[in-house]
């Protein structure tokens, strides 16, 4: 078995695609229309385009328990997932300048620095720098 796809639940796929590409810098990899209001839509890291894909999955829209779970995590401030960056403080400054809100500013946690931002699609996302 190999890790090829991980999913992130999103309320609006088109809005999520714009956010993950225009703001975060991911690149669209696969876009397959499925039904009138859902697509198999994945993005990948610009520096690792053959690496794992993130599936922007519209589950909160179609499956009530997924919506409940996403909301509960969001309200508790818990990240749905995390991405690694080379420098959390620089990435924080870059994303703040693009209007992105952070619930956790860059914070040292022993051997890592973390920060948490709102992806505007229903999730908190954590960025991590290994020290």
């Amino acid at each position: 078995m190999k890790v090829k796809v991980i999913s992130v639940p999103v309320l609006d796929q088109e809005k999520a695609l714009k956010f993950y590409t225009d703001k975060l810098g991911f690149v669209k990899k696969v876009d397959v229309p499925l039904t009138a209001d859902s697509r198999w839509l994945t993005v990948v890291s610009k520096e690792d385009q053959d690496g794992p894909e993130i599936l922007l999955e519209p589950s909160p829209k179609h499956f009530e328990p997924a919506k409940t779970y996403q909301q509960a995590l969001y309200e508790a401030g818990i990240p749905y997932t995390q991405f690694n960056v080379d420098n959390v403080r620089q990435e924080y400054e870059r994303l703040v300048s693009l209007g992105i809100n952070f619930s956790v500013k860059p914070t040292e946690m022993g051997t890592v620095i973390i920060a948490v931002f709102d992806d505007t699609c229903g999730n908190n996302i954590q960025i991590v720098e290994m020290l």
Binding site: D50, E75, A76, G77, I78, P79, S103, V104, T107, E108, M109, G110, T111, I114, V116, N124, M130, L131
Partner: protein
């Protein structure tokens, strides 16, 4: 304060209160990052941090979840993939990332990546834009030659 923010504070107090230990392991990891292409062993790493090798081994595993040797291997494999993608030969890559023999490099690479370094490089180059460019050039040349012969 959100639940997650209070958990960050709670976990930091439990797990990361010993600053001297954290400095030691971060320093060791950085030393490996800067010297992965040289011969490294626990004796050397412990000398750079003025600590005993068994203490360093325990600390590194406690904070990073793997031994220095496992981390070093990960680093070397990651770097070797970069070099192979950039077209460096297998033997050049092997020695550039600190392996002492090509056979141990190839065996470890196959075990970790699922392909031999040569297979990995072939797969990468067949997907690269450079390869596509050369393919397109050779196709154009073939088409030109064919049109001349008519």
């Amino acid at each position: 304060m959100s639940h997650y923010q209070s958990e960050i504070i709670r976990i930091r107090n439990i797990c990361y209160s010993n600053k001297a230990q954290i400095e030691t392991v971060i320093g060791t990891r950085q030393y490996i990052n800067n010297n992965f292409d040289r011969e490294l062993n626990l004796n050397l790493l412990s000398r750079t941090r003025f600590t005993s090798k068994f203490h360093l081994l325990r600390l590194f595993k406690k904070y990073y979840g793997q031994t220095p040797k496992q981390y070093l291997t990960d680093k070397r494999i990651e770097k070797s993939k970069e070099l192979l993608k950039n077209g460096r030969s297998v033997s050049e890559t092997c020695f550039a990332v600190g392996f002492e023999s090509q056979s141990s490099f190839c065996t470890l690479f196959k075990k970790r990546v699922g392909l031999t370094p040569t297979e990995f490089q072939k797969e990468q180059l067949s997907q690269s834009p450079i390869h596509f460019f050369f393919d397109t050039c050779s196709l154009n040349q073939t088409l030109k030659n064919e049109s001349k012969s008519y």
